[in-house]
Symmetry: C2
Subunit: 399 residues, 2 copies
């Protein structure tokens, strides 16, 4: 077990990072542009949407990550720069160049992210204005987490410290996302900075593994977006001995990165559009991890389960129907607990206090535990309830 | 093109069939039990839920269909006899035997279907009472379509006639289902009777193919159920020359069966829980039919698309994001029409009258046409909008 400590801070807490935020006039009054800067070129790893309709900045950032080095991430909200054709790509590249010029960086070390409305071109005069107002003096690093939001109600940020290679290493994460949240990175932007020293290929390997069990295990409405991106910058300024494969430090770093990603993922699920509750589904006793994760995610994504939990109804029938729908094997021996109350044993209903469990379902966090008794692998997924407010937000929002 | 005529009638309209319905006291006052009887043993074909948690009657009916011959279908609503273990299977078999005794049939020629609450045992005294009240004199054949309903708001029935093998052949269909409707047969019961003469293996082959493009292409909330079943009885009483493979009659019979199934499927989608609109999505220009159908179904099942249509918002961004999410190939040249208004050409937004299109989206049927320009295969799917009422129905319904 890696000993890690949560500290107060923000995305600029790891050594050698600064962040800033400003109002580029894309939104009315609110902060709508942010930047993360590393004092030195950093190893960069990234994971992107699997949506075939990927946005211009996603296409651009794939080339940055392929280069292995980055020193800055510039983000705007309000406009996604998605479904914008050639012009969109030109604008993303222009944003990249403007930021590089402003901070005297190599343009190919600048990642560009956008989130917001699909199908509109970036107003480049406003982008230029915003960039001109950004500073590298850590003036408004707390504002970054706000500048990247769209329909989110709360800021989502976490900082952990851990001792690795004889030094204190800090890992900070920030993200946005509340609608269109499903697997595979959905209108979800996540940024992680760390002062750990680690080679890029290993960083990418760890990130890809961690994403599978964290960000890719949340679902709000089953839709994925065109812009989803998670980027990690590791600038080595902690002075730790380089983290290499098959060492305790490797395990420790992976654990802290997983903790950051899991915390952020749960914050996104809890802030799902219209959500009143965070739902966590743990599936154990599966023959393989992939099935366990898939079943957990299918349960937490079921509209019938989500509405039942909104209504505080211990409707276990909907849970086991969801299991049966996707399980790639027979499930004759399911044990099901809702809020720690046993409701099903050997796939057969057991007596439980309906009124008492309904009361427990009014809590802000609902936990469903499924034991399949068919192996020793497990998986967890997170989501939220489906409410009137979700329908209102998405029916009244006009494109 | 097969010439077919819709006629007024019910599931007992084909020659040699009768139907009845009664109140077995499973529901309060309403009809809750129905039977379909053929005068002679009929060829039987069936398609069942793919949910691994299949209900007792599904397990039983698979053996009936495997036998190839059936003469009766007994259906109860209110209780699904699902997740009921050994006792549930014993009760399904007892229901089968009671009906066989009542009408002097071979028990293995009796199919049994149940729909309703999961996890409760059938009260066999009430089942016996209901069966004792059923008659074979066609007394209440119109009541059958009502007796099988659960949360449905309307009865769903259709009868077509077509000339095949020198005789008029009648095909009648009836179904129920409004929630938990997704692919692969979801709390959906469908029954089709026909007086056509056709051998069982061919009937099963045609049914399996037709189901893929009709019932399996509707989605209400993405969940499938434990009990879904479609059964076809063909008793040969029309006196037509037997329908054999690779003939015009084969094509004609398949066309009329498809018309019956498509009509029923659309009725289910339009009556989805809380629905105010039927949504039809046509995908053309795909390299293969499976992809076309999958993309169509994913669009029509997207919560974001469903809420946008509830809100009469021509939010094409959500449609193309849904396409990109599941398309197994690149989609650089999408042409998108909503209610026949072009909104996207070569995957790039075109100007359209937002207010006018929003008005058109207030109609009861919304059609979305997607041309992928990547082949010549097509697929269609049907669904409904996602409304406050859906959340209300599923949050307030208590298990």
């Amino acid at each position: 077990m890696t000993k890690m400590t949560e500290i107060k801070g923000n995305i600029a807490s790891p050594k050698g990072f600064v962040a800033d935020a400003t109002h580029a006039e894309l939104k009315f009054q609110k902060l709508d542009m942010g930047v993360i800067l590393s004092e030195v070129p950093a190893a960069v790893a990234g994971v992107f949407t699997t949506n075939k309709v990927s946005a211009a900045p996603v296409k651009l950032d794939k080339t940055v990550v392929a280069g292995g080095v980055a020193q800055a991430i510039i983000v705007n909200s309000a406009i996604a720069n998605a479904v914008t054709g050639e012009e969109g790509l030109i604008n993303a590249k222009k944003t990249q160049r403007l930021l590089a010029e402003k901070f005297d960086l190599d343009a190919k070390h600048v990642a560009v992210c956008s989130t917001g409305v699909i199908g509109k071109q970036l107003p480049m005069d406003k982008i230029a204005l915003g960039i001109s107002k950004l500073s590298a003096t850590n003036g408004h690093s707390d504002g970054f987490s706000e500048a990247i939001l769209t329909t989110d109600l709360v800021k989502k940020e976490i900082v952990y410290q851990v001792e690795l290679g004889g030094e204190v290493v800090t890992v900070a994460g920030v993200c946005k996302g509340s609608g269109m949240i499903h697997p595979n990175m959905a209108t979800m932007l996540g940024f992680i900075t760390t002062d750990a020293k680690i080679a890029q290929p290993l960083l990418q390997e760890i990130l890809s593994e961690v994403i599978e069990v964290t960000f890719n295990q949340i679902t709000v409405d089953g839709d994925t977006s065109t812009n989803d991106t998670v980027l990690v910058l590791a600038n080595g300024q902690a002075g730790n001995a380089e983290i290499t494969a098959d060492t305790a430090d490797y395990d420790g770093f992976k654990a802290v990165l997983a903790a950051v990603c899991q915390t952020l993922a749960k914050k996104i699920a809890a802030d799902g559009e219209g959500a009143t509750k965070l739902i966590e589904v743990n599936v154990t006793g599966a023959p393989d991890e992939l099935s366990a994760r898939m079943i957990a995610k299918h349960i937490v994504g079921s509209s019938l389960v989500k509405t039942a939990i909104f209504g505080a109804d211990p409707n276990w029938g909907r849970v086991i129907s969801a299991i049966g729908q996707v399980a790639p094997f027979e499930v004759p021996d399911i044990e099901l607990e809702i809020q720690s109350d046993l409701v099903l044993l050997h796939s057969t209903p057991v007596d439980f206090d309906q009124a008492e469990l309904s009361e427990k379902l009014k809590e802000k966090i609902v936990v469903i535990d499924v034991e399949l008794n068919n192996g020793d692998k497990s998986g967890t997924a997170w989501g939220c309830d489906l409410t009137y407010k979700y329908v209102e937000i998405n029916a009244l929002y006009h494109s």
